[in-house]
C-alpha cells in the first residue's frame, strides 16, 4: 500500500506555534485577544471548508450559512433556554454537521459549477431566511449573548502567570484556541488516514476512485457533513466572541471570505487555513490602519487605499496572489521560489507545449 506523499510533519514547528498561541494573550491587550480569537475561529471555519474543497474537491460558496446556523443554534439555546454556553457548542456543531451531511446528498448530483452557484445562492438568501421566524431568531434585531466570566481556577492561574485579571475576552480566546487545536488535530488525523486518502482520490478523479473501490458518494457527503460541523463550531464560537449576532452578521461576503482564506492559505494543507484566516481577517484591518501609517509610501497611494477601503485592496491582493501564487501561501513555501515561474502559467501546459484535446472533438 502506497504511503501518501505529504510533507513530513514538522512537530517542532507545530509545538512552537501552539506555545506561541498559548502564551500570546498574556502579553497583548484584551481587545487584541478578542481579535485573534476571531481569527482562530475563522481558521476553524476555513479548515472545514478546506476539507470540503481542498480534500474532497467540492466547491462551496455558502459556508457562511453554516456558520450562521451554528451561531444561531448556540445563541438561541443560551439566550432563550438558558443552556450553559459551553454546552451549546458541541450541540450546535453536531446539528450543523448533520444538516451539512444531508445537504451533501443532493449536492452529489450537481456539477462543480452548479454546486458553487447553489451554495452561493444559499449564502445570499440565508439572511432573509433568518429574519423570518423572528420570535425564535430575534429577527432583524438579533440576539445578545452574555459573555461568560472565566472560571475561578483558570482565572487564578492566569493571574499568577501574568499578574493581571483575566478578562472575558481572554477566556473566550482560550476556548477558541482549545477548539481550534482539537479540530486541527482531528483534521490532521483525518487527512493522514483512510478518509483523507479516499477524499483525495475522489478529488483527483472520481471515476478512477470509484473504480478502485472508494465509496465516492459516502465520502463526499461525509466531507460535507464534517465541513459543516467545523463551520457550525466556528459560528457558535463566533457568536460567543462577538456577543451579538443578527442576520447581517453573516452576509455573502463572509462565505467568499472563507473561500478566499482557504485558497490563499493553501488548499489541502493543514497549516493553510490558519494562514488564510490570518490573511482574511487582518488584511481589511491592515489596509485601513497600517498602510496609512507608513510614511514612506507616497500620499496618493495611502489615501487611495484608505478611501477605497478594504474592498479594493482585498480584491487587488486576491487577484495578484491568484496570478502569482495560486497554490496559496503554503504552496509557495512548499515548492519554493524557483518554481514561481512555472505556476505563473498554470498546470504546466504551456511549458510542455502539449495541446490537450478539445473535449468536444470527436
Amino acid at each position: 500500500m502506497q504511503r501518501v506523499r505529504t510533507a513530513p510533519p514538522r512537530y517542532w514547528l507545530v509545538a512552537v506555534v501552539v506555545i506561541f498561541f498559548l502564551g500570546f494573550p498574556t502579553v497583548i491587550s484584551s481587545f487584541l485577544a478578542s481579535e485573534w480569537a476571531q481569527a482562530l475561529i475563522l481558521a476553524i471555519a476555513i479548515m472545514g471548508l478546506n476539507i470540503l474543497v481542498g480534500y474532497s474537491g467540492q466547491l462551496s460558496l455558502g459556508h457562511g450559512a453554516f456558520m450562521a446556523m451554528g451561531a444561531y443554534i448556540s445563541a438561541i439555546l443560551a439566550h432563550q433556554y438558558k443552556v450553559d454556553y459551553l454546552l451549546t457548542i458541541p450541540i450546535a456543531a453536531l446539528t450543523t454537521g448533520v444538516v451539512g451531511f444531508l445537504f451533501g446528498v443532493p449536492a452529489l448530483r450537481l456539477s462543480p459549477l452548479y454546486l458553487a452557484l447553489a451554495t452561493f445562492a444559499l449564502a445570499v438568501v440565508s439572511p432573509s431566511i433568518i429574519k423570518r421566524p423572528h420570535e425564535l431568531t430575534g429577527g432583524v434585531q438579533g440576539i445578545l449573548i452574555a459573555q461568560p466570566d472565566p472560571p475561578p481556577v483558570v482565572g487564578d492561574l492566569f493571574t499568577t502567570v501574568t499578574g493581571t485579571v483575566m478578562t472575558s475576552d481572554q477566556w473566550i480566546y482560550y476556548i477558541a484556541l482549545a477548539c481550534a487545536l482539537l479540530l486541527f488535530w482531528l483534521a490532521w488525523n483525518l487527512s493522514r488516514h483512510r478518509p483523507g486518502r479516499a477524499m483525495r482520490a475522489i478529488r483527483d478523479g472520481e471515476v478512477a476512485a470509484a473504480a478502485s473501490g472508494v465509496n465516492v458518494a459516502g465520502y463526499k457527503t461525509l466531507a460535507f457533513g464534517i465541513s459543516a460541523f467545523y463551520a457550525g463550531t466556528a459560528g457558535s464560537l463566533f457568536a460567543l466572541s462577538t456577543g451579538f449576532i443578527s442576520p447581517d452578521t453573516f452576509p455573502v461576503s463572509l462565505s467568499i471570505q472563507l473561500l478566499v482564506g482557504a485558497v490563499i492559505g493553501g488548499l489541502a494543507s493543514i497549516p493553510g487555513p490558519l494562514l488564510g484566516a490570518i490573511f482574511a481577517y487582518f488584511l481589511p484591518i491592515g489596509s485601513n490602519q497600517w498602510v496609512p501609517s507608513q510614511t514612506w509610501l507616497p500620499e496618493q497611494i495611502t489615501s487611495t487605499v484608505k478611501n477605497a477601503g478594504p474592498a479594493v485592496s482585498y480584491g487587488v491582493v486576491l487577484i495578484l496572489i491568484m496570478i502569482f501564487a495560486p497554490n496559496g501561501i503554503v504552496g509557495l513555501i512548499r515548492t519554493g521560489y524557483a518554481n514561481l515561474n512555472r505556476r505563473l502559467r498554470g498546470a504546466g501546459d504551456r511549458e510542455t507545449g502539449q495541446i490537450p484535446p478539445d473535449p468536444q472533438t470527436v
Binding site: P106, L117, A121, V260, G346, T361
Partner: protein, 292 residues
C-alpha cells in the same frame, strides 16, 4: 385579468433585465467554462458610467450606446490584464479571481461614487399605454424593447456573421480553431467585451428602477444565475428564455403570495435548486453536469 396581464408584462420587463445579465454569464461560460462572478458588478459600474455621462449633459439615448462601447472596451481590458495571465489555470483559481474582481469593482465604485443611493432618471415616461383595453406601463415596454433589440443584435452577430462564427468556434473548440487560423486569444477577449457590453444593458435598465448604488446588482445576479441555470448554462437562447420565465414567476409570486417581500430572493434560490434536481441540464442545455 387586467392585473394579471400587467404583472406578466412587468415580469417580462424584469425578466429582460435578468436575461441580459444571464446572457453575459452564458457567453463567458461558453468561452471559458467558468461563471464570471464579477458580471453583476461590471454591469453596475457601467450604469455608473452612464450616470456620469448623463450628468454631464449627454442624453440617455446617446449615453446608452457610448456606455456599451466603453463597457466593451472595459471587458476586453479586464480579459487581457486579469484573465489572460491565468488562462490555463484550474477553474477554481479563475473563480476566485472573478470573486476578487467583483470585490475590487464594487469597492472601486464605492470609492468613486460613494454608497449613497442615487436617482437615475428613466428615459421612459411613467405613463401607461392602452393596448386594446389593457393598460401597460410604458416603462416596462421600453425596457422590453431596448433589451430585446440588444439581444436580437447579439443573436444576429453570433449566428450570422463571420466574427460571430469564429467567436463561437474559439469558445467551444479552441484547439481546432487555431488550426483553422482563428486567433483564439483575441476571440476570448472579444467574448469578454461582448459579455460586458450586454451586461451593461442590464445595469442601465435596472438603475432607474432600483436606485443606483454599488450593491445594486447583487440580488439581480442571483436571478441571472437562476435564469442561466434554468435555461441551461451553455445556451444563449436558454439564458433569454430563462430570464423571462424567472422574471414573470417572481413577479407573480410577489403579487399573489402574501408577505413575499424579501423572500422573492429565496424564490430565486428555489428555482435554481428545483431545476437542478429535476432537469440538471436546464431547458436547452446539454450535459452541463460533469464531463467525465
Amino acid at each position: 385579468m387586467q392585473e394579471f396581464l400587467q404583472l406578466v408584462v412587468s415580469g417580462i420587463a424584469t425578466g429582460a433585465i435578468f436575461a441580459s445579465l444571464a446572457l453575459a454569464l452564458v457567453l463567458i461560460y461558453n468561452a471559458m467554462g467558468l461563471v464570471n462572478f464579477a458580471q453583476g458588478e461590471m454591469a453596475m459600474f457601467a450604469a455608473f458610467i452612464a450616470y456620469t455621462l448623463i450628468n454631464h449633459g449627454m442624453s440617455f439615448w446617446i449615453a446608452f450606446p457610448v456606455t456599451m462601447v466603453l463597457a466593451f472596451g472595459g471587458g476586453i481590458l479586464i480579459q487581457r490584464i486579469v484573465i489572460k495571465p491565468v488562462e490555463r489555470a484550474p477553474v477554481l483559481t479563475l473563480v476566485i479571481i472573478t470573486l476578487g474582481l467583483a470585490t475590487l469593482v464594487n469597492g472601486f465604485a464605492g470609492f468613486i461614487w460613494g454608497y449613497v443611493p442615487r436617482y437615475f432618471g428613466s428615459p421612459f415616461s411613467s405613463d401607461s399605454i392602452d393596448l386594446g383595453g389593457v393598460f401597460l406601463n410604458e416603462r416596462d415596454l421600453g425596457v422590453i424593447g431596448v433589451s430585446g433589440l440588444v439581444l436580437l443584435a447579439v443573436y444576429l452577430l453570433l449566428q450570422h456573421t463571420t466574427v460571430g462564427l469564429t467567436l463561437r468556434a474559439a469558445a467551444h473548440h479552441p484547439e481546432a480553431s487555431r488550426l483553422l487560423g482563428v486567433h483564439v486569444s483575441w476571440m476570448l477577449a472579444l467574448g469578454w467585451g461582448l459579455a460586458s457590453a450586454v451586461g451593461a444593458v442590464s445595469g442601465m435598465m435596472v438603475a432607474p428602477i432600483l436606485l443606483l448604488e454599488p450593491n445594486m446588482m447583487q440580488t439581480i445576479i442571483i436571478y441571472a444565475f437562476a435564469a442561466a441555470v434554468l435555461g441551461g448554462i451553455e445556451s444563449p437562447l436558454g439564458a433569454v428564455v430563462g430570464g423571462l420565465v424567472v422574471g414573470v414567476v417572481i413577479n407573480l409570486a410577489g403579487a399573489y403570495i402574501p408577505n413575499a417581500g424579501d423572500l422573492q430572493l429565496a424564490f430565486g434560490l428555489g428555482i435554481i435548486i428545483l431545476v437542478l434536481i429535476l432537469k440538471p441540464n436546464g431547458l436547452f442545455g446539454r450535459a452541463a453536469t460533469r464531463r467525465v
